[in-house]
């Protein structure tokens, strides 16, 4: 479909054609009449009969008319509009509004990209005077289905807020393109590089990009981790925090640590462009669940300036140790050393040896976990367990064994210990035979399937039946590096019944923190077929021009030039 931008020029065509025709006929009439002796002399060897000569004459006239017509058409600014709507079809448009965190960035004028985006979206919605328009967000917030109701559209745009991004721009574009009958899509975004995604150009669809490129400097913070050992109330903990400078300029800022509603620490930051730095904050947790946060100051995008966390600290753990009869060396030597090396409860765990005479329900209730060696049994222990206590039974010395074993693996909630165990080559020496009963959970088993640690419910409490002792007679584990961590986590697990204390950090903002926007060239490469408009300029005029399609003037002038060449060639051919 061809449209003319300056159609008044077309009025020039009839006089141009008339003049051309008059000149053609005039020069045809303007001929010299020559009486000649023998005209047949010319016709004898004539290769071009009169009819062909006449046809060539008309062809010349046609070519010359075109040579005059095409420049006039070029002046009329013709445009190939490309897509033709069938009669009765109405345009259907989709506005894709980027409501991701990065849109908080500041534009040169001072307003945020998101505010500018909403303003542009409203302006667009107001400019559509026909057809239906839909609104799509890049977050998971539902948009507006195709509607003629401009008010509904405006309301949704005004109500939009910044949210975590749910999909890439390519995905949002694909979703918009799938709407039935869509003819135009308007993308309003900062076109963050890391969130462009993939897109395959589709014919017949016009996609316009209104790029809002603002400041790309950004500081982000996230909680990277805490202590390895299970946290106990009253025992100082370390919180590891990572701060990243996502910009091309050095950044200075302040990092504030808050815990339990109070400011618990502060650091001054000085980061080079692109630098990522880990810092630690120490705190002493109270028992139970406490929340905290780490915040960095940043004048641009703030969504990733705060990293929250919760911390669950258990009360200090008292472990009772009951030694069975006939035990030579201290069966709990290594355990004691692993859990309380200072023998001062510095890690929130105290171990106390209990004699058989001390075994009473009241006494046992003081302990979060009781470890019994040598197959010791006592009614008080049974009552303790049934009453909700936790009992870890180490095997008797004379327990039967099926032989040594290797490559044990934890299961269930303790599976995280497997990474620790893999670093060591634990050899299990004649572990006792354990026969799991129905309902037992195998917490640790050898590669050949022999259980090494069972969890058995008994009344309100739990029994943990071990096939191995805690001295280096039973395995080389007590001598390995992983033993203290494993014992801390194992005893914590046994004592807490599986509840997981420790740090619960929020998910980092991730890729959205890198604010770098795609350049025009990258945009065209990653999202082919998308035409960029300049929101800062007269983008409506630009849009109008783009809608009107490709300019043909240059092609018409080129065609006129080619025809002129053809005309010259025809003239030379006739002369031959």
């Amino acid at each position: 479909m061809i449209d003319f931008g300056a159609s008044l020029w077309l009025w020039l065509l009839p006089p141009v054609w008339g003049a051309a025709l008059v000149l053609h006929l005039y020069f045809r009439r303007k001929r010299q009449v020559v009486p000649f002796s023998d005209v047949g002399f010319f016709l004898r060897d004539e290769h071009h009969p009169a009819m062909r000569r006449k046809l060539r004459d008309w062809l010349k006239l046609l070519v010359r008319l075109l040579i005059l017509t095409l420049p006039v058409l070029a002046m009329a600014q013709p445009r190939l509009t490309g897509m033709k709507l069938a009669a009765g079809d109405e345009p259907r448009r989709v506005i894709v509004l980027d409501d991701s965190f990065s849109m908080e960035r500041k534009l040169p004028a001072g307003e945020s990209a998101f505010d500018a985006a909403r303003r542009l979206a409203l302006s667009l919605a107001d400019s559509f005077d026909d057809g239906e328009t839909a609104l799509v967000f890049t977050s998971d917030v539902p948009g507006v289905l195709p509607t003629r109701d401009r008010d509904k559209l405006r309301e949704a745009i005004r109500a939009a807020k910044l949210r975590p991004r749910a999909a890439t721009l390519g995905t949002a574009l694909a979703g918009a393109a799938e709407q039935a009958g869509v003819t135009e899509i308007f993308l309003i975004s900062d076109f963050q590089q890391s969130m462009l995604g993939k897109w395959e150009e589709r014919r017949g669809l016009r996609i316009y990009a209104l790029a809002l490129r603002g400041r790309d400097d950004n500081l982000a913070v996230e909680v990277s981790g805490g202590a390895v050992l299970p946290p106990r109330a009253g025992v100082e903990q370390q919180l590891r925090v990572k701060a990243v400078n996502y910009s091309g300029r050095p950044a200075e800022s302040r990092l504030e640590f808050r815990y339990g509603g109070r400011k618990a620490g502060e650091r001054l930051l000085n980061l080079s462009p692109g630098e990522s730095r880990e810092l630690e904050f120490a705190f002493t947790p109270a028992p139970g669940l406490t929340s905290g946060s780490v915040t960095v100051e940043d004048g641009n995008v703030t969504q990733d300036n705060r990293a929250g966390f919760t911390f669950r600290a258990e009360a200090p753990l008292k472990i009772g140790l009951v030694r069975g009869e006939g035990q030579g060396a201290d069966p709990f030597y290594f355990l004691r050393y692993a859990l309380d090396p200072g023998n001062d409860g510095g890690r929130g765990v105290t171990l106390e040896t209990l004699g058989t005479a001390e075994l009473s329900s009241d006494r046992l209730r003081e302990f979060g976990l009781v470890v019994v060696s040598g197959g010791a049994a006592h009614p008080a222990l049974d009552a303790y367990v049934r009453g909700g206590g936790r009992l870890w039974q180490l095997p008797a010395s004379a327990a039967k064994s099926a032989g040594n074993g290797k490559n044990a693996k934890f299961a269930g909630a303790l599976a995280e210990l497997n990474d620790v165990l893999q670093l060591d080559l634990v050899e299990w020496r004649s572990p006792a035979e354990l026969v799991p009963l129905p309902g037992d959970a195998v917490l640790l088993a050898l590669a050949d399937g022999r259980p090494l640690l069972l969890e058995r419910r008994d009344g309100e409490g739990r029994r943990y039946l071990g096939a191995f002792g805690l001295r280096n007679r039973s395995s080389n584990w007590p001598l390995l590096r992983s033993f203290p961590v494993a014992m801390a986590k194992l005893t914590d697990y046994m004592a807490s019944g599986g509840a997981k204390p420790g740090l619960d950090k929020g998910a980092p903002v991730g890729a959205e923190s890198n604010l770098a926007s795609a350049s025009g060239a990258e945009l065209r490469r990653r999202l082919p077929g998308v035409r960029e408009l300049q929101p800062g300029g007269d983008w409506k005029l630009e849009l109008d021009e783009l809608r009107r399609g490709s300019a043909l003037a240059g092609w018409l002038l080129l065609a006129a030039l080619l025809l002129w060449g053809v005309d010259s060639y025809l003239g030379k051919e006739a002369a031959r």
């Binding site: 001929r31 010299q32 020559v34 000649f36 002796s37 005209v39 047949g40 002399f41 010319f42 000569r53």
Partner: protein
């Protein structure tokens, strides 16, 4: 001889013709005499010798003395005077009506001047001259006669001629050739644009009759150079046919065709020992005639 009053032999032209005549006399006469020195001894005042009597010979020229001497019959032979029969054959078809681009000289008129000059030369040599005129048919056939009265008649006849009608070179020339006596001279004036097998046959007939033929192709500057520019409409002077064309593109091919046509004609004449000359009307006829005779002198 003063010939005031004859268009094609004006008094003013006689002055220049004198020179031609003189030249012509020494050359034409010599050449023509040489040409027409008859191997057959005719009857004149000068006794040339005897020959044996053949049945049918006139006894009027019986050599009685030789009979008396030898008892055999002999006929007397005499030197034959130059009694050449020459014919001017003039093409008066419409194509000869073409004027030069300046509109001054018409080919037919030019040919008539030449024809008149030849007739005059024949008269001066006491040779007989006749005239044939043709277009698509022979419109005039004058027997060859000597003497002033014949010349006057021929010149007068020329003045009455108007070129018109289509050309039939071959057919007319063949008819003329049939009427011409043996060993005569034919001087043909035409543009020879239409030459066909019949024309060739006519020339061969003249050759067979041992006639000498001189073909003068009379063309004007327009035909020789085609000097036109731009769009031209050619109108055939004979058929009236019109042809519109662009002059510049067509010029080269026309000249090439003309050259090839004349070469073929020249080759034909060479093969028959005839002379073929192309004359341009832009050259004064006296000069053209002088050039021709100068050339002829070199040949003979």
């Amino acid at each position: 001889m003063g010939n005031a009053g004859f268009t094609y032999l004006p008094a003013s032209a006689l002055e220049s013709l004198k020179g031609i005549e003189l030249v012509a006399r020494s050359l034409v006469e010599g050449a023509l005499l040489g040409l027409h020195r008859s191997p057959y001894h005719g009857f004149s005042s000068e006794f040339a010798g005897d020959r044996k009597y053949a049945p049918g010979d006139s006894i009027r020229y019986l050599d009685w003395k030789a009979l008396a001497r030898s008892g055999k019959y002999f006929i007397k032979e005499f030197e034959e005077e130059s009694n050449l029969a020459s014919y001017v054959i003039l093409d008066s078809s419409g194509s000869m009506a073409m004027a030069d681009p300046a509109g001054h000289t018409v080919k037919f008129n030019y040919a008539c001047y030449l024809a008149a000059a030849f007739c005059y030369l024949m008269y001066r040599q006491h040779d007989a001259s006749g005239l044939f005129v043709y277009s698509d048919e022979v419109t005039c056939a004058s027997e060859a006669r000597a003497g002033r009265a014949n010349l006057t008649a021929l010149l007068g006849r020329l003045e009455t001629l108007v070129p018109a009608g289509p050309t039939r070179n071959g057919g007319c020339l063949k008819k003329i050739a049939g009427q011409m006596p043996r060993r005569s001279l034919a001087v043909v004036f035409s543009d020879f644009f239409t030459v066909d097998a019949e024309f060739e046959a006519a020339l061969r007939l003249l050759r067979f009759k041992q006639c000498e033929v001189i073909l003068f192709q009379v063309l004007n500057e327009a035909e020789l150079e085609f000097p036109y520019r731009g769009r031209v409409e050619l109108r055939d002077l004979e058929s009236g046919q019109r042809l519109e064309l662009e002059a510049e593109p067509i010029r080269a091919s026309y000249l090439k065709r003309l050259g090839e046509h004349n070469r073929r004609l020249g080759k034909l004449c060479d093969s028959l020992h005839f002379m073929f000359e192309t004359l341009s009307t832009s050259t004064p006829f006296e000069r053209a005639l002088a050039a021709y005779f100068a050339k002829r002198e070199k040949l003979f």
